[in-house]
C-alpha cells in the first residue's frame, strides 16, 4: 500500500501529456501490436473486452496496457505473449491464456526484460508455461495476479512467477496454483514477497537460489509437492507465513540448504511430513513458530551451527527434533513441547526438569527408515524412556533446560 502514492504521481504526471488509445475488434485499432505501434510514450492502450489472438507482443515504449472487463489475449500455444523491454510499463487487467510450451526457450505470459519501474497487476494467467518472468528487472511490482496452471510433469512445465537477476521487487497478493514452482528466485536480492498464496504446485511453493537479503511474509504455502526451498542464500527473513499439508516422501514445510543468518519468526507449520528440513545452515533464529501435527517438526541433517530455537510451540508432532549426529551446537530454550511431562513446583511457568526433544526412535528412524512402522508401539515407548533417562545415542547436551509449561503466545511480528 505504501507504494501507491509513488505510482499515483507517476500516473498523473504522465497523464498530462498522454492519451488513451482504445483497442477493440470494432475500433480503428484492432490489435494490441498495432496499438503499441501507434502509441506515443506514456500513452494508455485501453483494451476492450474481446479475444485477441496475438503473441510475441513486444512493449518497447513506456505504456500502460489497461484491460476493460478482462479482454482475453490468446497466444494459441505459439510462443511468448507479452515481452516488456521498456522502463515504466504497466500491465493491468488482462486475461492471458495459451502460452506456448517449448523445451528450448522459456516462453512466458509476461516477460520483463532488463527494465525498471514496471507494474503488473490484476492479470489472470491460465494455460501457461512460465507465468510472469522477470529477467534482470528492477524496482517493479507484481500485484494481485492470479496464475492457474495445469502442470503435470516437472520437465514440461514452468514456474508461476520467476525472478532472475532482479532487484528491489515487491510480489504482493498473488495467487499461484498448479505450476512447477509457484514463485522462483534466482540471483535476486532485496525482494519482498508478501500476502501471496501458493498452493498445489508440482515442486516448490517458493524457491530461492543464490538470492540474498530477501523477505517473505504473510504468505500461505499449501499442499505443494515439496514445500518451500531456500538454498544457497543469505539474510533471508521468513515471517508469519503458513506452511500446510506438504505431505509426501520428500516433502517439507521449508527446506533450508546452505543458508546463513536467516530469521524464521512467527510461522505456522501444520501437517507437513517435515516442518523444517535443515542442512548446512548457520546462525539462524527460530522464534515464535508453531509446529503442529507434523511428522517431524525439525529435521537437522548435519553441519548446522549457532542456531537458536526460542519460544516456539511444538504441538503433537510425531517427532519434535531429529538429529543425525551426536554433536550439538544449537540452543533450545523456552519452547513449549506438548510431549513434555515434567512439573513446575515453583510455579514460574517454566518446567523444573529439562526436556529432551530428540527421541532415540527418531535416531533409529534416521538410520533405518523402515523402522517408522513401529511408531507409537509400546516397545519404542520403553526404549525412548530408557534413552531419556540416560542418553547413549542422542546428543546429551541437546535439551531445553527451561521448557514452558504453557503455549508461548506470540505478539504479531511487524
Amino acid at each position: 500500500m505504501k507504494f501507491k502514492p509513488i505510482f499515483f504521481i507517476l500516473f498523473t504526471g504522465a497523464a498530462l501529456y498522454a492519451k488513451a488509445i482504445p483497442v477493440c475488434h470494432a475500433c480503428e485499432i484492432k490489435s494490441i501490436k498495432e496499438g503499441i505501434h501507434q502509441a506515443d510514450d506514456f500513452d494508455t492502450l485501453l483494451i476492450k473486452k474481446g479475444r485477441y489472438k496475438e503473441y510475441n507482443i513486444v512493449v518497447d515504449k513506456p505504456l500502460t496496457l489497461l484491460g476493460e472487463d478482462f479482454p482475453i489475449i490468446d497466444g494459441e500455444d505459439k510462443g511468448e505473449i507479452i515481452t516488456i523491454i521498456s522502463d515504466n510499463v504497466t500491465i493491468d487487467g488482462l486475461f492471458i491464456i495459451n502460452v506456448g510450451t517449448s523445451y528450448t526457450s522459456d516462453f512466458a505470459g509476461i516477460r520483463v526484460k532488463k527494465c525498471k519501474n514496471f507494474l503488473i497487476q490484476n492479470v489472470v494467467l491460465e494455460k501457461l508455461f512460465f507465468g510472469i518472468y522477470l529477467e534482470k528487472a528492477g524496482d517493479g511490482r507484481v500485484f494481485h495476479n492470479k496464475i492457474i496452471g495445469d502442470a503435470v510433469n516437472e520437465y514440461s512445465s514452468g514456474n508461476g512467477i520467476q525472478l532472475w537477476y532482479s532487484k528491489n521487487i515487491v510480489v504482493d497478493q498473488n495467487i499461484v496454483q498448479h505450476v512447477r514452482d509457484g514463485i522462483y528466485l534466482e540471483f535476486s536480492d532485496n525482494i519482498t514477497i508478501q500476502n501471496n498464496s501458493s498452493s498445489n504446485n508440482l515442486r516448490y511453493g517458493l524457491h530461492f537460489m543464490f538470492s540474498n537479503d530477501d523477505v517473505y511474509t504473510n504468505n500461505v504455502f499449501e499442499n505443494n509437492g515439496a514445500g518451500v526451498a531456500v538454498m544457497f542464500s543469505k539474510k533471508i527473513k521468513m515471517t508469519n507465513n503458513v506452511f500446510r499439508k506438504n505431505w509426501g516422501t520428500a516433502s517439507f514445510g521449508i527446506l533450508l540448504k546452505e543458508i546463513n543468518d536467516a530469521e524464521i519468526i512467527g510461522n505456522t507449520f501444520e501437517e507437513n511430513t517435515v516442518g523444517i528440513n535443515v542442512e548446512g545452515s548457520n546462525r539462524i533464529q527460530y522464534r515464535h513458530n508453531d509446529f503442529i501435527n507434523n511428522g517431524w517438526a525439525i529435521k537437522v541433517r548435519g553441519a548446522c551451527y549457532n542456531n537458536s530455537f526460542i519460544n516456539n510451540n511444538f504441538l503433537y508432532n510425531s517427532f519434535d527434533i531429529s538429529y543425525n549426529s551426536k554433536m550439538n551446537d544449537n540452543v533450545f530454550e523456552n519452547n513449549y513441547w506438548s510431549d513434555y511431562t515434567g512439573y513446575d513446583l515453583d510455579k514460574n511457568g517454566i518446567g523444573d526438569i529439562p526436556y529432551r526433544p530428540v527421541k532415540l526412535f527418531s535416531y533409529i528412524v534416521n538410520r533405518t527408515p523402515e523402522t517408522i512402522v513401529l511408531l507409537r508401539s509400546l516397545f519404542m515407548d520403553i526404549i525412548d524412556f530408557s534413552e531419556k533417562v540416560s542418553p547413549v545415542f542422542t546428543p546429551d547436551n541437546l535439551l531445553d533446560a527451561n521448557p514452558l509449561m504453557k503455549k508461548s503466545v506470540r505478539s504479531p511480528i511487524r
Binding site: 506438548s338 533405518t368 523402515e370 512402522v373 509400546l378
Partner: protein, 271 residues
C-alpha cells in the same frame, strides 16, 4: 453385537446370554467400564483437545485392551470351571458352550469399552466433530483386539488345566505380542537394513494383531505420510483402500482362528 462366524444356534445364544448377564453383573466389568469412563472424561475435560485425546486413547487401546482381554478371558474361564461342567452334562454341543461363553466375555468387555469411552466423547460433542471417524476406528480396532485376545486367552486356558501356568502363558503371550515381537521386528530391520525391507515390514506387521491395529489407526492419525517415507510398497499398500481392506480381513482372520481352534480342541478335551 458382533456377528459370530460359526453357525449360530439357539443353545449357544442362550449360553452367550447367560454368560453375558453373569459378567455384566460382576464387579470387574464395572471396574473396567468405570476405568474407561474416567479415562474418557479426564482426557477430554482436562485436556480439551480431541485430537490429542485420540492419540492417548490409541496408546491405551493398543496396550491395555489386549492385556485386559487376555487376563479377563483366562480368569473367567478358570472361574467358571464348575459351571462349564454343569453345562457339559446338559444336552448341548460342546462348541456351543465354549463359543457362547467366549462371546459372552468378549461381548461384555467390548460393551464396557465402547460405552465407557463412547459416553464421554458423545457428551463432549463427538457427533459434531471431525474426529468421529478416527474415534470410530479406535473403537472398532479396540473391539477386534478384545475379540482376538479373549479368544487367545480361552485357547490357553482350555489347553492348560493348571491355572498358574495358564495365567503365566497368557501374560507371556501378551508380553510377546505387545513388546517382544516389536523388539525382534526392530532388530531384524536394523540387521538387514541393506536389503529391501518393505515386504518384510508389511508381512511382519500383518502377523501381529497389535501391530496391525496400531498401523491401521496411525494411518488415520499421523503416519500416512511418514509411511511414505519408507518407500513405495508400504505406502501403496497401507495408503489405499486395498490396504485398509486387507488389514480388516487380517483382523477378521485373527479373530476367527482362535475361535476355530477353540471349537476344535473343545471337542477333543476331557473334563
Amino acid at each position: 453385537m458382533p456377528l459370530p462366524p460359526l453357525q449360530l444356534n439357539r443353545p449357544m445364544l442362550k449360553i452367550l446370554k447367560y454368560s453375558f448377564y453373569d459378567l455384566i453383573r460382576s464387579r470387574w466389568s464395572y471396574v473396567y467400564f468405570l476405568f474407561y469412563l474416567a479415562l474418557g472424561f479426564v482426557l477430554l475435560f482436562l485436556n480439551n483437545d480431541l485430537s490429542k485425546a485420540v492419540i492417548t486413547l490409541m496408546n491405551v487401546i493398543i496396550v491395555l485392551v489386549p492385556l485386559i482381554g487376555t487376563i479377563f478371558g483366562v480368569m473367567y474361564f478358570y472361574n467358571s470351571k464348575e459351571f462349564t461342567e454343569l453345562l457339559l452334562a446338559q444336552p448341548l454341543k460342546r462348541s456351543s458352550i465354549f463359543l457362547g461363553q467366549y462371546l459372552g466375555v468378549a461381548g461384555s468387555l467390548t460393551l464396557s469399552l465402547v460405552l465407557g469411552l463412547g459416553l464421554p466423547f458423545v457428551l463432549y460433542g463427538l457427533f459434531r466433530s471431525e474426529a468421529i471417524w478416527d474415534f470410530s476406528l479406535l473403537l472398532v480396532t479396540g473391539a477386534f483386539l478384545t475379540l482376538i485376545f479373549t479368544g487367545l486367552a480361552f485357547n490357553i486356558a482350555l489347553s492348560n488345566e493348571n491355572r498358574i501356568k495358564g495365567f503365566g502363558y497368557a501374560v507371556l503371550l501378551w508380553l510377546f505380542l505387545a513388546v517382544i515381537y516389536d523388539g525382534m521386528f526392530l532388530l531384524s530391520l536394523i540387521v538387514f537394513e541393506a536389503y529391501p525391507l518393505d515386504t518384510f515390514s508389511l508381512v511382519a506387521s500383518m502377523f501381529n494383531p497389535i501391530d496391525l491395529s496400531r498401523t491401521l489407526i496411525l494411518l488415520k492419525l499421523d503416519i500416512s505420510a511418514l509411511l511414505g517415507y519408507t518407500g513405495a510398497v508400504f505406502k501403496q499398500f497401507f495408503g489405499t483402500n486395498t490396504g485398509l481392506f486387507v488389514s480388516i480381513i487380517m483382523l477378521f482372520l485373527w479373530t476367527l482362528l482362535p475361535i476355530w481352534r477353540l471349537a476344535y480342541i473343545s471337542k477333543r478335551k476331557d473334563f
